[in-house]
């Protein structure tokens, strides 16, 4: 039974790498966007705070498929219009890049909520200590708040990464040949869906194991040294 799927393992592994690569690329971008959005939520400028809250509500609310389609097909349409009106032909977004943008923006919204949460219960004493030593607000943010924030949010961010890993499967609908799609293809070629899904489960567990080990390492280090 396993000989039917064995020849596809190479094909399958490439899909695994694409899934891992896409998620690994999106995650830091999402974290960066999330941090900016989280801090903006508490800005003294009302417009910025409102914008940050609207961003997080909007992109958590929209179905991921809609955003991916909007970025990929929408950019195509925009570029076509641009070409029609001005004759300038710019290269379109590749499916991978479109998926990257869509996922980073969406998961940035989720990350911003996680960070905002921890910001709300952040011990004020630490900030005041920083100010007392003469640090500027930006410095306080960079040296005190962000490292602690990242450490506290690590389990939630670990969650987020695993969710991202699975959602990245939607990128297959615009042509990114990642693990889920490749699993479906192998299931269609071998006509053994149960077997193929079991193998895929193992492949996904491998990726999750790598992510989990990384997360445990970060958590262990943070607990020991008090910093990330």
């Amino acid at each position: 039974m396993y000989d039917t799927v064995a020849p596809f393992l190479g094909f399958w592994t490439v899909g695994t790498i694409v899934t891992l690569g896409l998620s690994a690329a999106v995650f830091p971008a999402a974290l960066a966007i999330g941090l900016v959005a989280a801090f903006s939520r508490f800005s003294n400028v009302a417009a910025i705070a409102r914008l940050a809250r609207a961003y997080s509500s909007l992109f958590r609310g929209l179905p991921e498929l809609l955003v991916i389609f909007a970025v990929y097909f929408g950019s195509s349409i925009l570029l076509q219009k641009l070409k029609a009106t001005s004759g300038v032909a710019l290269p379109g977004l590749s499916p991978f890049v479109a998926a990257f943008i869509a996922l980073a923006v969406q998961f940035g919204a989720y990350a911003s909520v996680v960070f905002a949460d921890w910001l709300r219960v952040f011990p004020k004493g630490l900030i005041e200590a920083g100010a007392a030593v003469g640090m500027s607000p930006a410095r306080v943010r960079r040296r005190i708040i962000i490292p602690i924030l990242l450490r506290q949010a690590t389990p939630s961010l670990g969650n987020l990464f695993l969710v991202l890993l699975k959602i990245s499967a939607l990128a297959s609908l615009i042509g990114v040949e990642e693990l889920s799609r490749r699993t479906g293809i192998v299931a269609g070629s071998t006509r053994e869906p149960l077997l193929c899904y079991s193998v895929a489960a193992l492949l996904y567990l491998c990726i999750s194991a790598i992510a989990g080990l990384l997360q445990a390492y970060i958590e262990r280090r943070a607990r020991r040294t008090g910093r990330v």
Partner: protein, 256 residues
């Protein structure tokens, strides 16, 4: 300077390549290669299957360059409408709705609709006997839904499955009383194994089966459709057409 000239040439070539008619642009065909033997990916990672071979044969017949890509079914019509592909190479039923919204090729084959049950089931009551049981079919295939409702009743409990293999797994598990699909698939993929059988003779009535199966294009692709139709007519007139069918399905295709 040397660099500037090279860059200028490159820019010029690139801009020129976006002008229509610069190169003989290939026909971009999207096929969902996830179901053997219709279209699948072989062990070397290449596209294979009846639909793929037919598309290649047609392109050869009209001497056109074709780019066949593997597009998931759920994204295939979006890709067609957004001009990422020119044609859907997966053979689909030419329903009136599809004919209104898209351009279609000539009919490639005609299928009959039927209900399939496990070999051991008592079929003495025929389709009447299916009333009251959940019936499985492929998710979203409206012609199939209409057929089931027409045959078994408007209140039929229709379960839509993502693939025929999933539906048959549930048939085995006893969650559905029968699986409804086209006779081509049922016969070739399942009944031929001896584990299943038809409840009744497959129904070819065009009230249900529409105008048969063909390829789909964006509305207004008249020139392309004409070329492809000519290719199809050419290939379908040659023995290679039924040879491909025999090779992949073990059955001949019905074209009338």
């Amino acid at each position: 300077m040397q660099m500037t000239r090279i860059l200028a040439m490159a820019a010029g070539l690139w801009l020129a390549s976006t002008l229509p008619g610069f190169a003989d642009e290939p026909i971009r065909i999207g096929i969902d290669a996830s179901y053997r033997p219709f279209a699948y990916v072989d062990e070397q990672g290449n596209l294979a299957g009846f639909e793929v071979e037919l598309a290649k044969a047609v392109c050869e017949e009209i001497k056109a360059k074709c780019d066949i890509s593997n597009v998931p079914w759920d994204g295939i019509f979006a890709a067609l409408e957004a001009d990422k592909i020119d044609m859907v190479g997966t053979t689909v039923t030419k329903t009136p709705e599809r004919a209104a919204k898209y351009d279609t090729s000539i009919t490639i084959n005609r299928v009959g609709y039927g209900f399939m049950v496990p070999e051991s089931t008592d079929i003495s009551k025929g389709i009447e006997g299916l009333k009251g049981q959940p019936i499985g079919t492929i998710n979203g295939t409206e012609p199939y839904y209409k057929f089931i409702r027409g045959m078994v009743g408007d209140d039929a409990d229709i379960r839509g499955y993502p693939s025929p293999d999933a539906a048959v797994l549930d048939l085995d598990a006893g969650r559905i009383g029968a699986f409804m699909s086209d006779n081509f698939q049922l016969q070739g993929q399942f009944i031929s194994t001896g584990k299943y059988k038809f409840v009744a003779e497959p129904d070819y009535d065009s009230k249900w089966t529409g105008a048969g199966r063909g390829w789909i294009f964006r509305k207004g692709s008249d020139a392309l459709v004409k070329r492809i139709d000519e290719g199809l007519k050419g290939v379908m007139a040659k023995p290679i057409f039924q040879e491909m069918a025999m090779k992949h399905f073990g059955m001949r295709l019905r074209t009338e």
